[in-house]
Amino acid sequence: MCEVMKMKANFKINGKNFEFEFPPHAKLLDVLRENGFTEVKCGCREGFCGACSVLLDGKLVNSCMIYAASAKDREITTVKKIGTLHEPHPIQEAFVEAGAVQCGYCTPGMVLATYTLLERNPNPTDEEIKEALDGNFCRCTGYVKIIDAVKLAAEKVKEND
């Protein structure tokens, strides 16, 4: 049996430094999940569904489409940096209050997409919300409640500011 060659690289994830070992062709999604960041969900593996969304240097990306080696020394943010079960972010509260969560599999990606949208645009229109969430699919709720949640989140974030 041939041994798979591995490489080492450093990442800053949710503000902390890590060194991981992985095969040179490994995707960021797999490296994150194998090292405990299971809040990053594995969906289509083709860059369509957005379940695996993370922020790479503050930009929303599909971690299934990124080779881990190419994210070396970069800053990665998962949904756990945004808020936790006991200290949820206003965006997460809004998703619960608006009934925009059913199975919850797409929710981490939706929350991160909403986070980057509201950072750039605190008062998005329905059209702007649809554009910003165009890479995040939900197969349970439909999208009406998700759009409602983003609008509610915008209000909550403004109140918190």
Partner: protein, 267 residues
């Protein structure tokens, strides 16, 4: 296999000489098997090529600028621009945060929607490596194999005094384009001084409608109908999931007519 992160163009040029080198920019179009079979993977992300700027009326876009950065830069400068219209319909927000202009130019996939606009704008591409120099984008497209061993450094074009039309045909908003239609006109006091009409996604990858371009140059658009301009223009398509070749040919004519009308042709 080894990954490399060159920090300057000299280091990049040196690495490009290595046997079995694969260039990685955004990486979204590189399959895992391709990475596995490469001896050297050259990651472009540490190079100082992430810029979108305008100098003396010419736009310069660095190879590692991602599509959303380009949209932001052009929206800031122009609001409405051909590239904004084309790129906003490319892939999805997270993918546009990763797809680079260099990769899109080098691979020129139809779904990036860049090919038509860059051809119509007569863009030039500066490359580093084996064929170090500046080339017409059209030449890079037609001689792609010769550019192996070279990497895109920068795209440049002028968009002074242009009117444009861009549209694409797809089954749904996030579907790949079946074809794109780009019309770029330089107009002075109602008279067309220059014209570029490009259809992509057809049998020949792209077609310039040179005859139609000739018909409008030196004329006032309002004195011509789209039918006059497009008479004899036949773009052939292969059958695709979005429709048969014959159907796509008909729809592309409708898009061309619509574009010429939008730019001021007689109805």
């Amino acid at each position: 296999m080894e990954w490399h992160w060159p920090k300057d163009l000299e280091e990049l040029a040196r690495l490009l000489k290595e046997e079995g080198a694969l260039i990685h920019a955004g990486g979204t179009a590189i399959r895992e098997e391709r990475i596995k079979s490469a001896v050297h993977v050259i990651d472009m992300s540490c190079l100082p090529l992430n810029y979108v700027k305008r100098q003396d009326g010419v736009w310069h876009i660095g190879a590692t600028a991602v599509l959303n950065d380009i949209i932001d830069a052009f929206e800031g400068a122009h609001g409405d621009h051909l590239l904004v219209k084309a790129l906003k319909n490319t892939a999805t927000t997270p993918l546009r945060n990763r797809i680079t202009v260099g990769g899109s130019v080098f691979l020129s996939p139809l779904w990036s929607n860049l090919m038509g606009p860059l051809l119509a704008l007569e863009a030039e591409v500066e490359v580093v490596g084996k064929l170090n120099g500046t080339y017409k984008y059209e030449d890079l497209l037609s001689k792609k194999a010769e550019f192996q061993g070279s990497a895109v450094k920068e795209i440049k074009f002028s968009d002074k005094n242009i009117m444009y039309f861009f549209d694409r045909f797809a089954r749904t908003a996030t579907d790949y384009s079946a074809f794109t239609v780009t019309i770029v006109l330089a107009v002075e006091t109602d008279v067309v001084k220059d014209a570029k009409i490009v259809v992509t996604g057809c049998k020949k990858i792209y077609e310039r409608l040179s005859q139609a371009e000739t018909k409008v140059i030196g004329k006032k658009l309002k004195e011509l109908t789209p039918e006059d301009i497009l008479e004899g223009a036949n773009v052939e398509f292969a059958d695709k999931p979005a429709g048969s070749g014959a159907y796509l040919a008909e729809v592309s004519k409708v898009f061309l007519c619509r574009g010429l009308e939008a730019l001021g042709c007689a109805r």
